[in-house]
């Protein structure tokens, strides 16, 4: 037909990879002294949530996916660390600057999607769809892992 693309790849690693990364990050959180105090539950929740996202990004996308790079960069900026990614061969940003890439009818919804998916602002609409698909798969896998953990640890 029109353009001979290779099929869109939205493979996501198995559940154990996610579990491994998440448990590692949780154990790292344990090491912090301020973590186990019974007060400051909100901080703890936020840290766990951030750990969940970061471990998901590392497990699933690594540095190959735009959303995972954006997530890791954002998390590193919060910790005042500088993260350097290897330069990709394909220039992602230059594709966006071409004119007439946006269709105004679907653009408002795409804007909302951009706000939700990390790194959405720097992508064209078609790339956004790919990233959203992969992101949704990874999110659902992470939710499954966390659900398993909670079920396993819930008192009888």
């Amino acid at each position: 037909m029109a353009s001979a693309d290779k099929p869109i790849n939205t493979d996501v690693p198995e559940k154990d990879v996610f579990a491994l990364h998440f448990l590692q990050s949780l154990s790292n959180l344990r090491r912090q002294n301020t973590f186990n105090s019974p007060e400051k539950t909100n901080d703890r929740v936020k840290k766990i949530k951030k750990a969940a996202y970061v471990s998901m990004a590392r497990a699933a996308g690594g540095t190959n996916r735009l959303w995972s790079r954006a997530l890791l960069r954002r998390a590193a900026k919060e910790n005042n660390k500088i993260v350097r990614f290897p330069r990709r061969k394909k220039r992602v940003t230059c594709l966006r600057r071409r004119s007439n890439r946006r269709d105004p009818v679907e653009e408002e919804e795409a804007e909302r999607l951009r706000n939700l998916v990390p790194g959405g602002g720097g992508m064209g609409t078609s790339k956004l769809m790919e990233e959203t698909a992969h992101y949704i798969k990874c999110l659902s896998m992470q939710v499954k892992v966390m659900q398993c953990l909670v079920d396993g640890l819930a008192p009888k």
């Binding site: 029109a2 693309d5 539950t41 703890r44 594709l95 078609s126 999110l139 640890l153």
Partner: protein, 280 residues
């Protein structure tokens, strides 16, 4: 002069064209016959020079029929202007279009392999509209992918509704993550106990550079065979012995791992929670 046509899956368009070409001109019969052999219709196709004029006229007729259905007036006017152009020009514009779409789409496609953008009958073939069409088709392909992933997208049709569904789904997933992390923070003390146990095993599995299947096996075996409270540290000898026995076996399928992970967490719950409460 004979411009080679490329195969195309536009069978339904062929039928549509045949309905337009009601007048049974003899030359046109042969033209249609030729087209069915090749299985493609292209605006730039022609097999004999004498027939060019007839083709153009009939395309105009088809065009006027199409105008009511499609309603892209400015593009049709462009097409009428192009009617006078020679076949070479349209061919070169198509090649140029395919070059542009080549650079647009991906860099993995090799240079010698052009992407042929099919110009369907009755639609304009200028650069911008072809680019627009290619872009829209790519987008719709990706939306179909998303439709498979997001549950409940089949009922809604149209881009806007589907995008709404997708946005709601992503929001709900993120809320679930937040909710589960709240739950995990509440379960903090037991979590700490078990995290230490589990993570030492996994760290040591990583450090000895076991392949992933083996580390899976390791986790499973450890949870079932060794009761968790006795496990202070893992011997490297234990790991090595398990490694030698399980190196050959790669029968851990992904579905098998799902079941085993569930059983792992169940073991966690039965063995260690009971032990946790007994220790108190």
């Amino acid at each position: 002069m004979f411009i080679r046509t490329w195969p195309h899956d536009g069978r339904e368009e062929l039928k549509r064209v045949e309905s337009y070409l009601g007048n049974n001109n003899d030359e046109l019969q042969s033209f249609r016959h030729y087209e069915t052999i090749d299985g493609c219709i292209s605006r730039t196709s022609s097999f004999q020079i004498e027939q060019v004029k007839n083709n153009e006229e009939n395309r105009v007729i088809a065009l006027q029929h199409k105008r009511k259905t499609e309603g892209k007036t400015e593009k049709i006017e462009n097409k009428k202007k192009k009617k006078i152009k020679t076949e070479d020009e349209t061919e070169s514009s198509m090649k140029g279009k395919s070059n542009m779409s080549n650079s647009e789409t991906s860099s993995e496609i090799q240079k010698r392999d052009y992407i042929h953008v099919r110009a369907r009958r009755g639609e304009a073939t200028d650069r911008h509209s072809l680019a627009e069409r290619a872009r829209r088709e790519k987008l719709s392909k990706k939306m179909k992918c998303l439709q498979d992933i997001v549950p409940g997208c089949n009922k809604v049709t149209g881009k806007a509704g589907m995008l709404d569904e997708i946005i709601n789904y992503v929001q709900s997933l993120q809320q679930q993550v937040e909710f589960l992390s709240m739950k995990l923070s509440v379960l903090n003390p037991e979590l700490e106990y078990h995290i230490n146990e589990l993570s030492t095993k996994q760290f040591q599995a990583c450090f000895t550079d076991l392949p992933e299947a083996v580390s899976k096996q390791l986790m499973m075996v450890d949870a079932s065979s060794f009761p968790l409270q006795h496990q202070e540290s893992l011997d490297y000898s234990v790991i090595n012995s398990i490694q030698t026995t399980t190196l050959g076996s790669k029968d851990q399928t992904s579905s098998g791992w799902e079941i085993h992970s569930q059983s792992l967490y169940n073991n966690l719950r039965t063995d260690s929670v009971s032990s946790f409460f007994s220790l108190e």
